[in-house]
Symmetry: C2
Subunit: 128 residues, 2 copies
Amino acid sequence: MDTLQVGPWLEAVTWNEQGLVPVIAQEVGSKDILMMAWMNRDALLATLRLGEAVYWTRSRQKLWHKGEESGHTQKVKEIRLDCDGDTILLLVEQKDGIACHTGEHSCFFQQWDSASATWVDKSKPKKS
Amino acid sequence: MDTLQVGPWLEAVTWNEQGLVPVIAQEVGSKDILMMAWMNRDALLATLRLGEAVYWTRSRQKLWHKGEESGHTQKVKEIRLDCDGDTILLLVEQKDGIACHTGEHSCFFQQWDSASATWVDKSKPKKS
């Protein structure tokens, strides 16, 4: 995989005007959706070569090997592309089961409550 | 739900510079990821009021009640927002089990094959 070269496969992806594509990370087994992030061409190439998720951080404008600081890396088991090529789905093994920078398993811990018309925080209680 | 009004909850979402947010649709039960689409404020409001997924189509620049032509509507069972508010997750019941305009269950039917360095079409055989 480390010898993978740029090729037509890379242009099968519909990169947006910023050269990015949204990427959904789903956990293998549980099928939980862990997070959504972005990749540019270099990030996708790095992900395929490394076998671990490498994203492009729009806020810091650089490649981001997920878990490089936290240790919460994502081993990529499968990669899928949608019908019009403009979204990528990664099936990953999430190291330590923690994908979110808040320490949560998944970033999607705010749940809509129609009765109160609010987003309810469903994250686990934090240690004080 | 049809009386739901615009409120602070709507600005808990981090709308991008086009006033849009990416939305992942995941099937309740199977937990399959069906598709990714976009919403603007009106689409989210319409989704909450109707109880079915209403997206914003960027190509046609209009609200799109998913399934309005195909009949493949998505009944919304749960809505989640991620940690930084910039992605929405819908848990839906997919009418007829078909989310993709190609007739596939899920839009993510192209699978990366590292041996051949190609995206392999994993859709079901089409009738000729």
